[in-house]
Amino acid sequence: MELPNEINDEEFLYRRIINKPNFWKEELNRHTSAAFKQSNGLSVDRSNFRPESDVIDVYKNLEIKAVVNIKCQDCREIPTNPKHMPIPDNIFHSEIHNSNSEVNLTSKQIKILSEKSNPIWIKSDEI
């Protein structure tokens, strides 16, 4: 199966939030932006318009606290640069980069990405 190289604006990008160490801020009922910090690009999975339940099912077996998503259009408006970057065991793998020419995101970009992302599944408290 080959996906379109360009991620559609209406596609959602998904990222899992682990539960150990704890990235969840209980008083705000959301994750810290630290959960979105990664060497090089920020790894996400593009939906390619799959049912959301299909995406969650892939993650559920992992030790995670939550699954969050963000619309690709929202990423581009920050601005950041979502790119489809499939890997051998995951054709949906994508990364969010700073721009066309720079990979590493700034803390400001990461904070905005974090704020614009929405929890769609929280462990033991499904939405």
Binding site: P21, A34, K37, S43, S107
Partner: protein, 158 residues
Amino acid sequence: MVASPPYTEIVDQRNFNYNFNFNNFSDSIKFFGDSNNNKTINNYQFALKDFNIALEKINSFKNLETNWDTYGALPITDIVINSSLTFLNKFKIIPDIFPTGRGSIQFEFEKSNGDYLEFEIFTDKINYYLKTNSIDIEEQLNPLNLDSILMTFNGTTE
């Protein structure tokens, strides 16, 4: 039995003015540290419960193994952990503390009105990001500016 000093006095004992040029990161970290700190903390542990919990949390990051975040993150280095332990001395109000997938440790404060302040400790620098209604700045931390940054965010140097 000698009465223990109030918490604020203990914290003030840790605020030394070092005359460093900050030509390198290790000098910066020395500025935040206090060589007598262990003795002070041991004498007045009951007054530093939150601080000790934060110390334990940072030390727990030593146990993070490769791929701890499920996205290939490497372990947090001893340099980052030790720098974070020292940097923690500077805060009267303990921040939320998290490891990151890019090898740093993040201290953060977030208010209900959206005001936000984070410090990110790397192996060779500390960056900060401050966002309020009127300020939006992200840059490398000059240790001499820490108090003014905290003042801007909190209204005090706490």
